[in-house]
């Protein structure tokens, strides 16, 4: 039986960008409004999963040649590593810092070290979710 999923494929091609944009937005919005590393990562992961659903694994892998296990490991490394960064500056473990910057287009922007930590969380979530789904689906 041949599966007819033209609609799904066509919609995905457009929707995937919306989802990816949303995930980036959510990631950065987290400091002041709903969002954050965990949700951002999860949305990103669901976008990847959607791609896997519509196209086959090889095609997606050509577009995104990452080993998602490494992505997850990198995330854990960043998340724990930012904790140690404050130790180097003589502060307690996981002390976060923030500063205000005036950027040309964005106006007054806050730069916070917690973003790095959240990035670690996001990468871990993406990596783990995709790893789990891929390894289950590839099992014979």
């Amino acid at each position: 039986m041949k599966i007819n999923d033209v609609i799904l494929r066509t919609v995905t091609k457009i929707v995937i960008f919306i989802i990816l944009t949303l995930s980036v937005y959510l990631f950065f919005a987290g400091h002041y409004s709903p969002g954050g590393g965990f949700i951002g990562g999860l949305v990103l992961a669901s976008a990847v999963v959607l791609m896997y659903l519509t196209s086959d694994i090889e095609t997606v892998h050509k577009g995104m040649p990452f080993d998602f296990k490494l992505v997850a490991a990198l995330g854990v490394l960043i998340a724990t590593g930012t904790g140690f960064a404050s130790v180097i500056f003589g502060k307690d473990f996981m002390t976060q810092a923030a500063m205000k910057l005036n950027l040309p287009i964005f106006g007054e922007t806050e730069l916070a070290s917690v973003v790095l930590f959240e990035a670690g969380v996001a990468l871990t979530v993406v990596g783990v979710v995709v790893t789990i789904i891929l390894s289950i689906s590839e099992d014979e």
């Binding site: 959510l26 987290g30 400091h31 002041y32 409004s33 709903p34 969002g35 954050g36 590393g37 965990f38 949700i39 999860l42 949305v43 992961a45 669901s46 999963v49 659903l53 296990k69 997850a72 490991a73 995330g75 854990v76 998340a79 724990t80 904790g83 473990f93 996981m94 976060q96 923030a98 806050e110 916070a112 917690v114 930590f117 959240e118 670690g120 969380v121 871990t124 979530v125 990596g127 783990v128 979710v129 790893t131 789990i132 789904i133 390894s135 289950i136 689906s137 590839e138 099992d139």
Partner: protein
């Protein structure tokens, strides 16, 4: 500070070695490693004069001050002896290993583990904080495990490593409990503070338990009877490791601990009896069993056990001085401790040399079975010299250092007769008798080493290869040790004044002037009981050696199945099968059972707690009115939930489950929790995909055919869980046993700089939780991956035995 550094340097090198290993393919990596112990040895040697004057060095690096755990190092006479042994013997062993191990072995692992051990062992002897000491102590067990199993393709290596690990770590954990008890009594983890204050606590109810537990740790580590069984099995390690860890350093960690804590516990009858009696029994049992060994390395292992017992018993005898207090007449008892320290150093020299000698024989001939060896004297003259010097020193013969310390040991044992404390008057006579008999057996096995391996019919290779002396590189280290064996005999007081004297003042702090504690050592002190005992040992020993064949059947009197090895084995097997049965009892492999366990536990623990604390309070007075669309949503979710019970296919069930999940997220929207709603939505989508993937692998969904009673009990549990959750969610609003923590987060904007309170909690206030959750998530992901990808497929061979 330098001492903290001395502990850290080997660890740093251990981390670097695997990386630079490939960089220098031309050089044997051991030459680079060799720099570490030599540097440290020279560094320590430079401190010897000032330590001999009575100086001590201490440095604290605060680690976890709130728990009183700090990386405090303390260098005094006692730790100096061990530090010199670790680095000195370490240098010689590494030099020896360069020629012993061929470049084909995985040398980067070997030297990495060896450096790991060296750092850990230095940490044990230099740490003042008991918790840090414990951490290093266990690290020595771990590195010993790795080194014993270095040739891990051999089954015996793995078994020996496991046995050593199990026994020493069991002891280590009990020691940890003992340390914690000490902390509960004295409020300090610092050995020196404890020694300072301990006199107030000797009547404390934890004093004896703490002592016994710590001794258990020390005995297992130092292979004391009946925990000695791991040491002979540990001989599966490469010979340099046996020479280093299992004769010169690691097995002396227990002795170090006993010496270090003598000022704490010494003077107590239990301490005296345990240390002395266990030491003497070990001394006898080790030497008695060494005689029957045919493998030279096993023989040396038992002889190490026996010598460790000797040193241990001497420390026990020396502790009597604390009971009697200091006076001119008690000096003879402090001399037992002096003899212990002296023999400790001597043992490291001659036993190290002997192990290296056996390594050479094994390396050149491919066997170390005394029944096959013979006539090596003329073929390997240098190796023979090492064997003779080492063995005679071990047997306590002049002109070697073993003679001096053995005489002092006899003297101490003889003096024990005269004591009338600790109910010694009745059994005191046993001390010299046991000491004497054990020495006879020691003499006999030393003769076995010399005569059976080096005299008699020459050994011949089965393929007719000629036997020749080992390369000079392998001989340097044992020959240096032999120089020490003779040198210490000729100039014993150099060692006594510079190394042993400061150690005596650290064992007997404020006891007496150091010069009184450390006597001058003389090789000849007239014809006295000790000398007569030595002559007796030689005569009886020679007789027994001549008649070895006639009395050897004595060993067959003990049936093997009553031996400690068998006891250990059956204990281990029993433990394995027992826990296997227990686990098989509840791990049915059916997810339904596991869910049942979780729910039953939930009902008992959570429901029980609410019930006991009377937390079920509810009034609808403060509730907001229920809107019509909320009611509709609830009805939809209810319908989905109930109809899930009656659907025929899994796909429908998943979709219905999705309905509930999305319903919940709409509720989150209504109740103004956008973060939760977003998360719930995405999680719902991803899990639905996951479900669909998993269900592909599941068998056809059939009607369940379990019995009625099972069905009813499942229904009861399910109903109870549902009811409990409902009741709880009403009750939590009125539960006031705990203070609300929300006040803490209210000024999140000032504290964390974020307006989204949920994220400030996740990323900042409870950042530590999030970090660990991320790690857990990662581990879970890896778990799924390995379970699926690395399972044994049909037709694959099982990689484990």
């Amino acid at each position: 500070m330098t001492i903290n550094l001395a502990i850290v340097i080997p660890f740093i090198m251990a981390a670097i070695i695997p990386f630079i290993y490939r960089r220098f393919p031309k050089i044997h990596i051991g030459w680079i490693v060799l720099l570490v112990p030599i540097t440290l040895f020279v560094m320590l040697l430079r401190l010897v004069p000032s330590v001999a004057k009575g100086d001590t060095y201490s440095h604290t690096y605060n680690w976890i001050p709130s728990l009183d755990i700090n990386f405090t190092t303390y260098l005094d006479g006692l730790s100096m002896i061990f530090g010199l042994l670790i680095t000195g013997v370490g240098s010689l062993v590494i030099l020896y290993s360069i020629f012993y191990l061929s470049a084909k072995e995985s040398l980067q692992h070997f030297y990495c583990y060896l450096l790991l051990f060296m750092g850990a062992m230095l940490g044990v002897v230099f740490s003042d904080n008991l918790m840090v000491l414990y951490a290093f102590w266990e690290l020595t067990s771990v590195s010993s495990f790795l080194l014993i199993a270095f040739w891990h393709h051999r089954k015996a290596s793995r078994a020996g490593a496991q046995k050593a690990m199990l026994i020493t770590v069991t002891g280590g954990v009990s020691m940890l409990v003992g340390f914690i008890m000490l902390h509960m009594m004295t409020g300090s983890y610092s050995v020196h503070e404890i020694i300072h204050n301990v006199s107030q606590y000797t009547d404390h109810q934890l004093f004896i338990p703490a002592m016994v537990l710590i001794l258990f740790g020390a005995f297992t580590k130092s292979a004391q009877f009946p925990f000695h069984i791991w040491l002979p099995d540990a001989m599966e390690a490469p010979t340099p490791v046996s020479a280093y860890l299992h004769s010169a350093t690691m097995v002396k960690a227990g002795i170090y601990l006993v010496a270090r804590l003598t000022p704490v516990f010494g003077g107590d009858a239990v301490w005296f009896w345990l240390v002395t009696a266990v030491g003497l029994i070990t001394l006898f049992w080790g030497s008695f069993n060494a005689v029957k060994q045919t493998d030279l390395k096993a023989l040396l292992a038992f002889s190490t056990v026996s010598q460790l017992g000797l040193i241990m018993s001497l420390f026990g005898m020396g502790s009597v001085a604390f009971k009697l207090g200091y006076s001119d007449s008690t000096i003879i008892y402090t001399q037992a401790t002096f003899a212990a320290l002296f023999h400790l150093v001597n043992h490291s020299t001659f036993k190290g040399a002997l192990f290296m000698m056996v390594g050479i024989v094994d390396h050149e001939l491919g066997t170390r079975d005394v029944r096959r060896l013979g006539g090596l004297m003329s073929l390997m003259p240098l190796t023979f010299t090492v064997a003779v010097i080492g063995s005679l020193s071990m047997a306590g013969m002049p002109p070697f250092n073993g003679f001096l310390s053995k005489e002092m040991f006899f003297a101490a044992a003889v003096h024990m007769r005269d004591l009338d404390i600790f109910s010694l008057s009745s059994v005191g006579v046993l001390f010299p008798v046991v000491a004497w008999i054990a020495s006879i057996f020691t003499f006999v096995y030393c003769m076995i080493i010399i005569f059976q391996a080096f005299f008699g019919k020459p050994y011949e290779h089965s393929d007719g290869r000629s036997i020749h002396e080992a390369p000079i590189g392998m001989l340097i280290s044992p020959l240096i040790l032999c120089v020490f064996v003779v040198g210490i005999f000729v100039f014993p007081n150099v060692l006594g004044q510079y190394i042993l004297k400061p150690a005596m003042t650290s064992i007997y702090p404020g006891f007496a002037p150091a010069d009184v504690l450390a006597p001058k050592i003389y090789a000849w002190h007239g014809i006295n009981t000790e000398l007569l005992m030595t002559i007796g040992v030689v005569i009886v020993g020679l007789l027994l050696y001549r008649k070895l064949k006639t009395w050897k059947p004595v060993y067959r009197l003990f049936p093997y199945r009553f031996s400690f090895n068998e006891l250990f084995k059956s204990l281990l097997e029993g433990l394995e099968s027992g826990s296997n049965k227990m686990t098989a009892g509840y791990m049915t492999g059916s997810l339904r059972s596991y869910v049942l366990y979780i729910y039953v536990f939930f009902i008992i623990a959570v429901g029980g707690f609410f019930f006991m604390s009377g937390g079920f309070a509810y009034s609808s007075a403060n509730d907001a009115p229920v809107e019509i669309y909320e009611l509709m949503l609830i009805i939809v979710m209810l319908l989905a939930g109930v109809s899930m019970l009656f659907v025929k296919s899994r796909l429908t069930a998943i979709l219905l489950n999705g309905v509930i999940g999305f319903g919940v997220s709409i509720f989150f929207v209504i109740f103004r929790a956008p973060d939760l709603a977003l998360t719930q939505l995405v999680v719902e989508s991803v899990t639905t995909v996951l479900f669909l993937l998993c269900f592909y692998f599941l068998p056809e969904w059939k009607r369940e055919d379990s019995s009625k009673s099972v069905k009813i009990s499942n229904a009861v549990v399910a109903g109870a869980v549902g009811a409990l959750v409902v009741v709880m969610s009403f009750a939590v609003m009125y539960y006031d046993e705990f203070d609300s923590i929300s006040a803490y987060f209210e000024n999140a904007y000032e504290l964390a700089g974020g307006a989204n309170i949920v994220n400030t909690i996740l990323g900042d206030f409870r950042g530590f939780d999030t970090m660990l959750e991320v790690v857990v998530l990662f581990i879970a992901g890896l778990g799924v991956y390995t379970l699926i990808k690395l399972k044994v497929r049909k037709g694959d061979t099982d990689v484990e035995d």
